[in-house]
């Protein structure tokens, strides 16, 4: 008799698979492109500030931050980390950065892409594009690569205004002016690098496409507020890179996200959840344990549905910039809005960490979360700094308890699966308790 196959606890979206496949081709495309002489840039996540410019100038882009996760998953990271350590970089630094440093050190020594490099490796860059956004590693790391590479380093500026300070409209205008100036300088620099002129029509088109991609991706995520939630965090993480990085041709991504929207909407209409019996609606912060995503299946078996996650990976709440004719100004406005989109509400709530922390408070309410799983990372301060604050605010302001499970981005041994599952049981008791408390206090879920 054939054994009956156990039904998967998470009902994955079918439209996720082609999106993910398209993203996975990013490295291959980079290597292929570099073989044909097309320039490849290594780029930090920059929240669409530099991406459209690079795409409009036909530069192939790879994202070493993402490649760190790839190397961790393929098991090549430890050797690269050892190499970074041997080269004198402190071990407490970002695992993705150290992976990249080790990789670059080895690539420089070999004079070619290391043969063991997963997914075809990262082609030698002609430019290192840093971003000042959110994290020190995003510019210090590429600066540090100067000992291996002669590629120039450019840092795009993105101001980090405080929540209260952002309330003055003059501040916003000044920030946009600054960003536009800087982007103008970046375009001139790229023109010099590539010895060709910017095609402004193309830039306007790419920018427009990327904005559309993000709007659609945002709308998909809005649908997740439904009960039961139709899409699990695992699908979010599988597909986010077409928006976040943004990997692939935006027009193709737009089509793929459109298909996804249709599927998710259909599920909402039919009340199909991503988890069969949604008992607990969960939020997740910040970077997931990439190597142990199966834990979400086990949690799904217990009725945990992860409905919202990873603020820094989410697209901005949409704004209308269609009337802005200068594409650089449009880009600046969009990126600045991505960073500060929650600030007005944060200010009203007297919460001053308007990105990273406050969005979770808003989400806990709007997605009606019962609890959260927080994942501090040993070597990524940016994804960790705000977690204790969130834990405190969620519990004390919204009566939403959370579980803390420590891990790391590349040192995979640090995440303790069994212990996290044990803690999950305790959290369930707390979630039941606090559900009642929320009702007693008149909170709406």
């Amino acid at each position: 008799m054939m054994e009956q196959k156990k039904k998967k606890a998470i009902n994955r979206l079918q439209t996720m698979y082609p999106l993910r496949a398209n993203i996975d081709k990013m490295y291959e495309r980079g290597v292929e492109a570099s073989k044909t002489g097309k320039p490849t840039a290594w780029c930090m996540v920059n929240w669409w500030e530099a991406d459209p410019i690079l795409k409009a100038m036909d530069v192939e882009v790879v994202y070493p931050e993402n490649y760190g996760a790839v190397c961790a998953a393929f098991g090549t990271a430890p050797a690269y980390l050892d190499r970074s350590d041997a080269d004198g970089f402190p071990t407490h630094m970002c695992g993705y950065a150290r992976n990249c440093i080790g990789y670059t050190s080895r690539m420089t020594e070999l004079g070619q892409i290391p043969p063991e490099a997963p997914m075809g490796g990262m082609a030698k860059p002609f430019l290192l594009l840093c971003s000042g956004a959110l994290c020190d590693a995003r510019y210090k790391w590429f600066q540090a690569l100067g000992r291996y590479l002669d590629a120039p380093v450019w840092t795009v500026e993105i101001p980090h205004i405080g929540v209260a300070e952002s309330q003055d409209p003059a501040t916003r205008a000044q920030v946009i002016k600054f960003m536009v100036k800087e982007l103008g300088e970046f375009v001139k620099f790229m023109e010099r690098m590539l010895n060709k002129k910017m095609d402004w029509d193309k830039l306007a088109e790419v920018t427009d496409d990327l904005i559309k991609v993000n709007r659609l991706w945002h709308e998909i995520n809005e649908l997740r507020k439904a009960r039961p939630c139709p899409m699990h965090s695992r699908d979010f993480w599988s597909c986010m890179n077409a928006s976040l990085y943004p990997a692939g041709d935006p027009k193709e991504s737009l089509k793929l996200y459109q298909d996804m929207y249709t599927e998710v909407k259909d599920r909402v209409d039919k009340k199909i959840g991503a988890v069969a019996n949604e008992k607990y609606r969960m939020l997740f912060a910040e970077l997931p344990p990439w190597h142990d995503l199966k834990i979400f299946d086990e949690l799904a078996d217990r009725g945990w549905n992860f409905v919202v996650e990873s603020w820094a990976y989410h697209p901005a709440k949409p704004i209308d910039t269609t009337k802005v004719s200068n594409p650089l100004e449009r880009i600046a406005a969009e990126t600045y809005h991505w960073l500060t989109g929650y600030f007005d509400e944060a200010y009203k709530a007297k919460e001053y960490m308007g990105y990273f922390a406050y969005p979770y408070l808003e989400w806990a309410r709007t997605y009606q979360c019962d609890g959260g799983l927080l994942h501090p990372l040993l070597t990524c301060r940016t994804a960790t700094n705000h977690l204790m604050l969130i834990q405190d605010r969620l519990l004390n302001k919204l009566k939403v308890p959370t579980l803390v499970a420590e891990g790391d981005i590349v040192d995979l041994k640090l995440f303790n699966h069994a212990e996290t599952m044990r803690k999950a049981e305790t959290l369930e008791e707390m979630m039941d308790h606090y559900k009642q408390k929320r009702r007693d206090e008149g909170l709406e879920w």
């Binding site: 000992r147 120039p152 001053y352």
Partner: protein, 388 residues
């Protein structure tokens, strides 16, 4: 209280209880403003007769309260500052000027406001680069700082007052250089530990008072009878040191720390503000471009299309070569507090540069606790033996 002690004795007194003078001034009706790191523009505070008080940590005090809102994998110095804030040790301050110095500094600033909500608060967003547009942005930030301070105090910062404040601070910077000159002879006239205590004291009292004190210290040190002995001469580079324990450990292992490149030292005091038609131009330039903390991204040539590593190192660390030459340095101790990414990324590049110019060096990492210093002593001793 009448201040009786003078010179180094007074420095030590302030160092031991650094809030005492500020609290006394506060009780006498003055306003005291805390500030994080070296980027807040102190001239604005001085121009309003506000006492600038640098927010520092306390190495000997266990961190108990900050853990509830800041994880343990961040810079222990910054955790210590927040811990002191949460324990009410900074309650005497009328407000704070925080700054985007590094990622964790920024986040801590926001946490500070969320939990402590001081009467005055300003977050100065320091740009990442030194590009011209970034300098203009810095100037705008300083303008807003001025405005918010004026609103808070109900007083105006007139051009004359600002100029006077710039002069006073520049005078202090010149006096600090004069003090540092006393470290140039062999043996130096003042130890590294005493110098550090002086720097901490200067960051705890009004600038004019600091200038008077510095003059006393300089003349006292010049006339010293009990000279230090000749030992290997070291420069200490890296992240913040606000407690003498590390420097004392190094000096007791058999060295003279004769120069530093840290932010409670030359980094904070050496650059002066140029007098410009619009004083804000000089201030923006000094605070964004001249302050040499690795939190700011620099490139050898603006918009260079190829990177020449040695040229890059020269442009970023050339001033260290001058320190080494002028202070006759035999070796460099690079140190960073654990989890300081800003300095962590910089370490191999500084070592490359020191190799390039032929200066021996070692790197020490510590966790901002006195207990962790003991094992480092052996490494320092081995390094000193190497220097001969």
């Amino acid at each position: 209280m009448v201040v009786n002690r003078k010179g180094i004795e007074r420095i030590k007194e302030i160092y031991q209880d650094r809030a005492s003078r500020a609290q006394e001034l506060k009780a006498g009706g003055k306003q005291v403003m805390g500030y994080l790191c070296i980027y807040p523009v102190l001239e604005m505070l001085t121009a309003l007769d506000i006492v600038p008080f640098r927010i520092l940590g306390q190495m000997s005090e266990p961190i108990t309260k900050a853990d509830a809102c800041l994880p343990t994998i961040v810079c222990p110095f910054i955790r210590s500052t927040l811990d002191l804030g949460l324990k009410g040790k900074y309650d005497f301050m009328d407000g704070v000027v925080m700054a985007h110095v590094c990622d964790v500094g920024e986040k801590t600033s926001h946490i500070w406001r969320t939990y402590l909500n001081p009467p005055y608060y300003y977050f100065l967003d320091v740009p990442h680069t030194t590009h011209l547009a970034a300098q203009e942005q810095m100037k705008e930030q300083i303008k807003t700082l001025r405005q918010t301070l004026e609103d808070f105090t109900g007083k105006k910062i007139t051009a004359a007052k600002l100029k006077q404040a710039i002069d006073l601070h520049n005078q202090q910077r010149a006096l600090v250089r004069e003090l540092y000159d006393l470290r140039k002879p062999d043996p130096p006239l003042i130890s590294g530990a005493e110098t550090l205590q002086t720097m901490v004291a200067l960051m705890s009292i009004p600038v004019a008072e600091g200038n008077d004190l510095l003059k006393q210290v300089i003349s006292e040190v010049k006339q010293r009878k009990n000279k230090l002995s000749k030992k290997p001469r070291l420069l200490i580079w890296g992240s913040i040191i606000d407690n003498v324990a590390l420097v004392e450990m190094i000096e007791s292992a058999g060295a003279n720390v004769v120069m530093d490149d840290i932010c409670v030292g030359s980094r904070a005091f050496f650059p002066a503000v140029a007098q410009t038609d619009d004083p804000l131009d000089g201030l923006a330039y000094r605070y964004l471009v001249e302050l040499k903390c690795p939190r700011t991204f620099r490139e050898a040539t603006y918009g260079e299309t190829k990177k020449d590593y040695i040229q890059d190192l020269e442009s970023r660390f050339g001033y260290i070569k001058e320190y080494i030459r002028d202070w006759n340095v035999n070796g460099v101790i690079l140190q960073a507090v654990r989890y300081c990414d800003i300095h962590g990324y910089e370490v191999p590049a500084v070592r490359d540069y020191l190799d390039h110019i032929g200066t021996p060096h070692i790197y020490l990492e510590h966790d901002y606790s006195e207990a962790a210093l003991a094992p480092l002593r052996t490494r320092v001793q081995a390094f000193l033996e190497l220097l001969g």
